[in-house]
């Protein structure tokens, strides 16, 4: 009987914590959206992933179209600068890392010609002791 009670409590707790983690992701996304200022149009997606430690990567492949300026915003936690993001081209050349710019929470990219690239994000091990919700947002404008 007692065991069942503890099991129920465990299940309820997991459900509750799941909601809490999601609410935190929502809050981080809300904070991050302030970096996509009005001159940029959102691509309509909210890229988010819970990273369990600083060794985990969230990644996605995207196409940057030519003659377009993109803004990427990358956030984790309530302050800026907790998330490292790297952009690679299709041949794994590193095109940009915000690590070289104090983990800047946003950066603009003027794209000359269309290219396929991979965006990777990870928690900065110097600023994150544990897990964290990683959020990336993309906005664009014509050149």
């Amino acid at each position: 009987m007692k065991t069942n009670l503890y099991k129920c409590l465990l299940i309820l707790s997991i459900v509750g914590l799941s909601s809490t983690a999601k609410a935190q992701c929502d809050s981080i996304a809300s904070l991050c959206s302030k970096h996509i200022i009005a001159k940029f149009i959102s691509d309509g997606q909210s890229y988010r992933s819970l990273l369990l430690n600083s060794e985990e990567n969230a990644e996605f492949h995207t196409t940057f179209f030519g003659e377009t300026t993109y803004r990427l915003a990358a956030c984790s936690g309530k302050t800026d600068g907790n998330l490292i993001f790297n952009i690679y081209d299709q041949d794994r050349h590193l095109l940009f890392t915000n690590k070289n710019y104090a983990n800047a929470p946003y950066w603009d990219f003027k794209v000359k010609s269309t290219l396929e690239c991979t965006i990777e994000a990870q928690l900065d091990p110097n600023k994150n002791a544990g897990s964290g919700c990683a959020v990336i947002l993309i906005g664009f404008k014509q050149k």
Binding site: G44, S49, D108, K110, L115
Partner: protein, 305 residues
């Protein structure tokens, strides 16, 4: 065996009590809503992954608004006839059909906004609202943003920004509330409609810009196929097969990528991506893509159940 069971019972008690304590503690925090203060957030989450996507691959699909921008810039005239009539929204019965057409109407709303067609924009805004209501996801379209769209319906620049925000908010809401398959289908509908815009524009006025935009969708299409397949939806089997057939045409399109070192202006927080890509697509491939997109779109917008 006995010892393991005992340990399990002890562990269950400890974990349950620990998690319950954390939950009770966290219940004291107000849940921040979009745009509200985030002062109460912890610096980093120590809450372990429970039901969220953990690490791994995410998927990115180009915005239909971006395609509409290109088309308008290329000098193609507004053509209402290419859009899916907003009045058809009552024909969409299944969640699968409603979700895809919600994506199509969102793209159409972006298109009419681009051309400053206020009256048509009101019609598509209504179609989006109705379909979202019927799908039971009206909360995904934040009321405040929808009101701002309504208030700015004649302001093209504001409209485009707000439509982008509305769809991003709905994407986030659907992912958070365990309806990611709806989000994926909305993205799919939007992508199909943006391809339809490009193909219609190319037929009306063949320009290299639009031709290359049609050709540059290989990665987006691959992402869409993975994204829809990841949900194992029975209704989506035919759609996935159609998209896979389309992907075979894209396999024949050749690209030559030339890496050039990027340059960065730190003061402007801007990096210039200088690499170039040469793409080769022939008229037959354009025609094949065109007919396949037309057929897929037709199945989506003219569905009877």
């Amino acid at each position: 065996m006995t010892m393991n069971t005992k340990n399990f019972k002890l562990n269950t008690k400890v974990i349950a009590l620990g998690l319950a304590s954390l939950l009770i503690y966290s219940c004291g925090d107000p849940k921040p809503a979009d745009g509200q203060s985030t002062d109460d957030l912890p610096d980093t989450d120590t809450v372990k992954a429970v039901a969220l996507n953990v690490g791994g691959e995410l998927f990115s699909i180009p915005s239909p608004i971006q395609t509409a921008l290109l088309i308008q810039k290329s000098g193609v005239a507004y053509d209402k006839a290419i859009l899916n009539a907003g009045s058809k929204n009552s024909q969409y019965i299944s969640d699968f059909s409603k979700s895809l057409n919600l994506g199509i109407y969102g793209a159409d709303l972006g298109y009419v906004s681009m051309y400053n067609q206020t009256q048509d924009a009101l019609g598509y805004l209504g179609a989006v609202k109705q379909l979202a209501d019927k799908l039971g996801v009206s909360a995904a379209f934040d009321q405040n943003t929808m009101k701002r769209i309504n208030d700015n319906i004649s302001n093209k620049d504001s409209m485009l920004v707000l439509v982008g925000i509305a769809y991003r908010a709905s994407d986030a809401y659907l992912k958070t509330n365990k309806r990611p398959e709806i989000s994926s289908l909305i993205l799919t509908g939007g992508w199909i409609e943006s391809m339809h815009f490009s193909i219609s524009a190319y037929k009306a006025k063949p320009t290299d810009e639009v031709k290359y935009r049609i050709a540059e969708q290989k990665q987006a299409l691959g992402s869409l196929i993975k994204l829809i397949s990841s949900h194992n939806l029975a209704d989506a089997a035919g759609l996935v097969k159609d998209l896979e057939d389309l992907a075979k045409v894209y396999e024949g399109i050749t690209t030559k990528y030339n890496f050039v070192e990027p340059t960065t202006d730190e003061a402007k927080k801007t990096t210039y991506i200088n690499s170039t890509t040469e793409i080769t697509i022939n008229p037959e491939q354009i025609e094949q893509i065109s007919s396949k997109i037309l057929a897929i779109r037709d199945k989506i917008i003219n569905v009877k159940s």
